[in-house]
Symmetry: C2
Subunit: 303 residues, 2 copies
């Protein structure tokens, strides 16, 4: 452990964390970014068409963010954070390799996607298997696709897909959708969408790309796209330990300035209740910018 | 007037409106964008260093947004909107040239900057005169600069500048800052910042770039940068006419999903109370994305 006390430690290096770093650099905060994988989960996206002005792979877009942070000489430490403690006015952050101290912290650890844990899921990820209808629906024009899940988000994914695809099956393990009633009616009325209840996807198969799935009922579906909409788990265990309030959906409750209930701790990106819980690169980046300004304002007060 | 009813009419073509258009296109909403100047006020910025991943002029960055919208074949009409009426479930939008109809509307008209209306203000805009300390402070490393205005935003601009500049004068027409008390104390304690009260800037002069200003007290200041932080006026007259609730600061009050109190009307960008009222390209773009999703959800219900 060194004696350096950073103005700001950003935990997580996805769109929220990197944008917070860009803004913090411009406020000349002594900032450190720590994340297990630089760029975050976005880097696995094969093509992103809704980051304004730059259509590219997730990796390419995040590379531009990382370069931007590096141009401002903000250090990025590739490491896991194990624990965050508050000691008086300081935050002590334990990583696998080091212990660092900061006046303020921005938490941007994002969410861990829930998986089906079935054969073919990883193999066809980005090759027919997707986790974001808003992002990828356009690639399935006139194709047959399926959505896994029965939540409101799943039903909405089916609706987004019905703007592009030829047919959409919703595969759900229970007997009825748990989406909001108005949306269930819209789904019922949509001739392109059909629900297959009491069923689970057992296997995903294909060649170079996905060609079909097998259900646990024995039913086989010939489809070119499978949208897995079974939610994700915000990575909030450390936040909880620090005494930070979480929502029913296990996200960090944030105020308009991205502050949390613990003074000095801010949060941004998919991990928060912000942006109407619409998880996109642009919403995460925006929250990161707002959090950095708030951290700047607080560090001014602390000094 | 044609019989076409658009799913969505976006009024304003800055970062918020163009991002809303990108998202709306991906939801396959029949969308029309109407704005008096494509790209919005951002296009006047000489260098933008905080749009993640792409450092360029305002014009260059907004060109990438416009191209993105055009790639999705969303029409952009360069025109002023004169009036918006609600007739039953439809919105009738009167432009200078046409009358168009929509099921939903997103308002992204932004703000009109307040001006000092003094000689040199326009001439040195982007050549020493700036309206965004967060954006431009870095260009004034070790320089002498001044901030005009006594609000909390003005004081914060001075603090941001003190991270870079050699000296900062706050020029304010009244006898004391009206920033929040804690910030006033920080300003008092900051050796780089000095307040000049009961004074107005009367004239801005320079050569190729700004070299100084003259105050109405006769005082002359040799400075290289002048940050005009006297606020802006949200362009909300039409919104008010439509019955939309405004905040004390004359911004459109928005909910988390960017909806307003009038069903079918959403808002995004500098014109709203969203994003903690931090006006940046990235926050405006984020609000545009959220508003487009909300408009999509509502049009599904209306059909």
């Amino acid at each position: 452990m060194t004696d350096t006390v950073h103005d700001l430690i950003i935990i997580g290096a996805g769109p929220a964390g990197l944008t917070a770093a860009i803004y913090a650099a411009r406020y000349r905060l002594n900032t450190l970014v720590i994340g297990p994988d630089i760029g975050g989960t976005v880097t696995s996206a094969h093509l992103i068409e809704n980051w304004p002005g730059h259509k590219a792979t997730g990796m390419e877009i995040m590379d531009t963010f990382v370069q931007h942070v590096k141009d401002f000489n903000v250090p990025i430490l590739t490491d896991d954070v194990k624990k965050i403690e508050k000691q008086d006015d300081l935050f002590i952050v334990h990583t696998g390799k080091d212990i660092v101290k900061g006046h303020t912290v921005i938490l941007t650890m994002g969410t861990k996607r829930r998986k089906l844990d079935i054969p073919g899921e990883d193999k066809f990820s980005g090759k027919g298997v997707s986790h974001c209808a808003t992002c990828d629906a356009m690639f399935f024009k006139d194709k047959d696709v399926a959505v896994v899940g029965g939540s409101d988000a799943s039903a909405m994914a089916a609706q987004v897909l019905s703007q592009h695809a030829k047919s959409i099956k919703i595969i759900y393990r229970k007997a009825a959708l748990r989406a909001e009633p108005a949306r269930v009616k819209e789904i019922d009325d949509n001739p392109k969408i059909e629900c297959i209840f009491n069923s689970n996807v057992k296997e995903i198969h294909g060649d170079k790309t996905l060609t079909g799935v097998k259900l646990d009922t024995g039913q086989e579906l010939d489809i070119q796209g499978l949208f897995i909409e079974i939610g994700g788990t915000p990575i909030t265990a450390m936040a909880k330990e620090l005494g930070i309030e979480l929502s029913d959906t296990n996200r960090i409750k944030v105020n308009a300035d991205m502050s949390t209930n613990v003074e000095g701790v801010f949060a941004a990106g998919d991990i928060t209740t912000g942006s109407n819980e619409f998880n996109q690169i642009v919403t995460a980046a925006s929250e990161g910018a707002i959090a950095a300004l708030s951290a700047f304002n607080l560090t001014r007060k602390k000094k």
